[in-house]
């Protein structure tokens, strides 16, 4: 039984505006992989459109790096085929595939200069010297290190090294660029900067990017589509907006930071709304199609930013609200994270701090929410703590 990640193979992302229908850059069909003692990837399908920026997102061990390496050709799948722009490359070794990989740790060749590193691929293909030199310079310009050609590898900082690695991959003119958590070892500020630059480079080159990370913020901010993975399966594929607004499983919801995932019972269905019981709150959610039956158990999610808190004394009670108490406060700077105890549970609330008051622990508050943002997850409810 295979799990389908993408719905239709030619789902268009924000690719460059080519007149004809965009092609599938990478197509994985029933790809599976197992290592000696465990299954790394259950049979899965995935199609990546030309020009897309796709991110494989998931916790450690979910198989995202293995999948990337299978596309690169550094691992062979036990089952299934890998197709790149229509050509079956499953049996082709890594050096014969038109893809290039930027590794997580720095893998620049220490015995070569920056320029020699970047020019490694062109030199292997015996490109004429001047042409190779131009290509190297163009790649270095693109990663904003135009004067670094003569530097030694051990003189580079972490961020610079990864840029050179990127330039090296790009100078090879790959049809698909693969990136395995290239920014995870870098400081926050440099990471943010490089994320923006990567996005910029993607836009300029129009190249298909396949990115791997465990950082959901990184994935959401850079990608056209996100593939959420877990324990060798694809959980959900969609644009960042889509998976955030309509997560399809408790795992996806939690992984993307929506920490209010809970189980409830359907009290009543009608009028396009579903009324929920079992949380101590008068919760209702927009009814999905097909709507659940009364008495059914469901899993629901309320995003922390769907809540609002104000002091209990500030104004009257409105619909879709309850009294509660602030049991924890975390001030992040631009945001404040509250834990509010109301009904039978604790709720994670995330509010813009602005210049307003930061409510201290113990405050009596009015907890309100936008009912149309309560999400009902499809399928049977998972166990409350796991999922």
């Amino acid at each position: 039984m295979t799990e389908t990640g993408a719905g239709v193979t030619t789902r268009a992302g924000n690719g460059p505006g080519s007149g004809s229908e965009p092609r599938a850059a990478v197509a994985l069909d029933s790809v599976a992989k197992r290592f000696a003692t465990q299954i790394a990837l259950h049979p899965l399908d995935l199609a990546i459109t030309e020009g897309e920026f796709v991110t494989l997102l998931g916790p450690s061990g979910c198989g995202k790096t293995t999948l990337l390496r299978i596309i690169a050709g550094l691992e062979t799948p036990d089952d299934g085929t890998v197709t790149i722009f229509g050509t079956d490359v499953t049996d082709r070794p890594a050096n014969k595939r038109p893809v290039n990989l930027v590794f997580q740790r720095v893998t620049l060749f220490p015995h070569l200069t920056v320029a020699e590193n970047v020019g490694f691929g062109p030199r292997l293909r015996r490109m004429p010297r001047q042409q190779a030199r131009d290509k190297v310079q163009a790649a270095l310009d693109l990663v904003r290190l135009p004067d670094f050609g003569d530097r030694q590898v051990n003189e580079l900082s972490g961020g610079q090294a990864q840029r050179v690695a990127l330039a090296r991959a790009i100078a090879n003119d790959p049809k698909v660029l693969l990136l395995d958590e290239p920014l995870s070892a870098l400081d926050l500020e440099i990471r943010r900067q490089l994320q923006a630059e990567l996005k910029d480079i993607h836009r300029r080159l129009g190249l298909t990017f396949v990115y791997v990370t465990h950082d959901q913020e990184e994935a959401m901010s850079m990608s056209d589509r996100v593939v959420v993975m877990r324990e060798g399966h694809i959980e959900q594929v969609g644009s960042p907006v889509e998976i955030y607004r309509r997560p399809r499983s408790p795992f996806v919801a939690r992984f993307l930071g929506m920490s209010n995932v809970f189980v409830a019972t359907v009290a009543a269905v009608g009028d396009g709304w579903v009324e929920l019981d079992g949380t101590g709150l008068p919760l209702r959610a927009p009814a999905p199609a097909p709507p659940p039956a009364a008495g059914q158990g469901v899993t629901a999610v309320i995003r922390p930013d769907s809540f609002e808190v104000r002091r209990a004394t500030d104004g009257p009670a409105t619909a879709d609200s309850v009294p509660g108490d602030v049991s924890d406060v975390r001030f992040i700077g631009s945001l404040v994270h509250y834990r509010v105890t109301a009904g039978d549970r604790h709720w994670q609330v995330s509010a813009r701090a602005g210049s307003g008051e930061v409510l201290p622990e113990g405050t009596s508050v009015r907890l309100s929410w936008r009912a149309d943002e309560v999400i009902l997850l499809p399928g049977a409810p998972g166990p409350a703590a796991g999922g």
């Binding site: 550094l74 890594a94 720095v106 220490p110 015995h111 051990n154 580079l156 900082s157 090294a161």
Partner: protein, 301 residues
């Protein structure tokens, strides 16, 4: 911050990855030269020697093909060889333990207490290693002799009135010299195994309340147990099998088993006896190795 110094960047231990298309035959083919070399130069000669130990000696290096255990019997029963065998075992045992005790603090110091001069001091130690085996033993005769450094010095200070003759041409002399000869190698082995011990682990132990010596014995020793066992094993073999030092500084009482073994092959000519003695010696070594590997049970992760 740089990404790493020098050519080889220390990496978390990785099991060798099988490259995507490794064929199975390569390893065997590439190992062929090694196999040939070792067989011809090592395995075969040893086997032949072993066979020789069962042959009968006709004197002056001649043997008959008549196979017998008599060489082993002589080796085990003759009182001639008992003293020197015991000497070898005792001096070997004490010597290697002494070497370990002396070089361990030095290795610790080099690995954990030196910031910059590590390479310099290691190179200096290597120089003492390569200053010439015979030469070094010879220098000790000058130090330990009747008119040597120690005796002259002690007499000058007035501590003794007569030169101490026990210093040279004795078991004591052999012990000192073989220990001296083993310290550099032991230090290198220990430093090597200490390289794998994270400095942070020791600091952590200190932080938890372990005093200096306690940290060392309960934390460091288990962690570098492989190096310790290696040092003890190698030291024992080298010391117990040394046949030159006893001849130069051993006098009459300080001879070790290696001397009669080498004599059989050089002058006396009872080669089966020499071989038998050698293999008995090797048998003892195997037992010692086995005993030392039991120490590895105390190994930390």
């Amino acid at each position: 911050m740089g990404i790493g110094q020098g050519v080889l960047i220390p990496v978390r231990r990785q099991r060798p990855r099988r490259l995507a298309r490794a064929s199975r035959r390569w390893p065997l083919l590439l190992l062929l030269p090694l196999g040939v070399a070792l067989s011809l130069g090592f395995v075969v000669p040893l086997a032949l020697l072993f066979v020789k130990s069962f042959q009968t000696s006709l004197g002056y290096g001649q043997v008959s093909d008549h196979l017998t255990f008599s060489a082993y019997v002589t080796a085990l029963t003759s009182p001639l060889y008992r003293t020197v065998a015991v000497n070898a075992l005792v001096i070997g045992g004490i010597g290697t333990v002494l070497t370990l005790l002396l070089s361990f603090p030095l290795a610790y110091f080099i690995r954990f207490r030196m910031r910059r001069g590590q390479n310099t001091i290691l190179l200096l130690i290597m120089i003492t290693l390569f200053a010439g085996y015979i030469v070094k033993i010879y220098a000790w005769t000058t130090i330990l002799g009747t008119y040597g450094l120690i005796n002259t010095g002690l007499e000058r200070i007035g501590l003794i009135s007569q030169p101490l003759s026990v210093l040279l041409f004795s078991r004591f002399a052999v012990l000192i010299v073989v220990t001296y000869l083993s310290i550099p190698v032991s230090t290198l082995i220990l430093v090597g195994s200490m390289q794998n011990v994270n400095r942070g682990v020791l600091e952590n132990a200190r932080d938890l309340g372990a005093g200096g010596l306690r940290t060392v014995t309960s934390v460091l020793v288990p962690l570098c147990m492989t190096g310790i066992v290696g040092s003890l094993a190698y030291g024992f073999v080298v010391i117990a099998g040394d046949y030159i030092t006893p001849q130069l500084v051993g006098g009459t009482t300080g001879q070790m088993i290696g001397v009669p073994i080498s004599d059989q092959f050089l002058t006396i000519g009872d080669q089966p006896l020499g071989s038998a003695l050698s293999f008995l010696m090797l048998a003892v070594f195997v037992i010692v190795y086995f005993g030392l590997t039991q120490l590895e049970r105390f190994k930390g992760i």
